[in-house]
Symmetry: C2
Subunit: 162 residues, 2 copies
């Protein structure tokens, strides 16, 4: 099962593609960047087309995104929401299963501890995917983490019909 | 000049199409509704395709949206941001000029008073567009108001190169 994990943001959007058919491995990770100073609508086009390109290249079954309940402030929440909107749209239009996880669910799935800190998370992502070093930037590591969370919990969710 | 005004929301998205070639008139107004209980990503597809259909039908040059700086709370801001993201995306991908206006700018343009209340705004929208009654629901009236704001200020903006 191939999962595309996304950490949405309007300046940069982190992505991580995880294949969990056998032992989990990272097929790709990185960021889609949209230039600052460019009007928001054009930045959203860059993000949308970036996600579409990732879906076309890796053909994931699922899109996993973190569910946010907080943000630095309302302006930031509106901005993240806009990026998130075009990501969910790209996934739904491609017929992907869309899964959202709270930050605690991601931490729990990846580290076994719902209150793990960022360095612990990133080190576990590195270990699980047998990478030589911690994936950077943070946005890419976070995207891999939410993809891993889905890869680990989706089979169970299906089993219990959740 | 035809302007599509949008008041974004995930449950319902207000729209108003204004032709300002001669005296301003409303070509259409209403709401695109997405059913509650349906997953967010699918609701965003409904909104995106609704805006695409409006653009295909009315062929506006511009898309006008209110610029928000506040919301009831962060969760609400994320939700409005998601709807707003797919609206801006639909406009940008169709090659429309995208214009954002603060609530005060909309009030100023429509009523001549930046602190007008909602009933005053709606009555002015009715008068300017020579409608028999105040357009409903509120989301549609708000969308017509932001379209009117753009229709009134865009020629001036172009003149001063703003």
């Amino acid at each position: 099962m191939i999962t595309l994990g996304i950490d949405p943001g309007t300046a940069r959007l982190g992505y991580g593609v995880v294949d969990s058919a056998g032992e989990a491995r990272a097929l790709a990770y990185g960021v889609v960047e949209s230039r600052r100073g460019v009007p928001m609508a054009e930045r959203l086009v860059v993000l949308f087309e970036g996600v579409q390109a990732l879906i076309a290249e890796h053909r994931p079954e699922s899109l996993a995104v973190e569910q946010l309940f907080f943000a630095r402030n309302v302006t930031n929440a509106l901005s993240v929401g806009q990026a998130r909107g075009v990501v969910l749209l790209a996934g739904a239009r491609a017929g992907l299963t869309i899964a959202e996880y709270t930050p605690a669910e991601v931490k729990q799935a990846v580290t076994g501890y719902g209150k793990a800190d960022k360095p612990q998370m990133q080190e576990m992502v590195r270990l699980i995917l047998r990478l030589d070093r911690v994936p950077t930037p943070d946005d890419a590591a976070d995207a891999l983490a939410v993809a891993l969370c889905h890869a680990q919990t989706a089979p169970f969710r299906e089993l219990v019909g959740g």
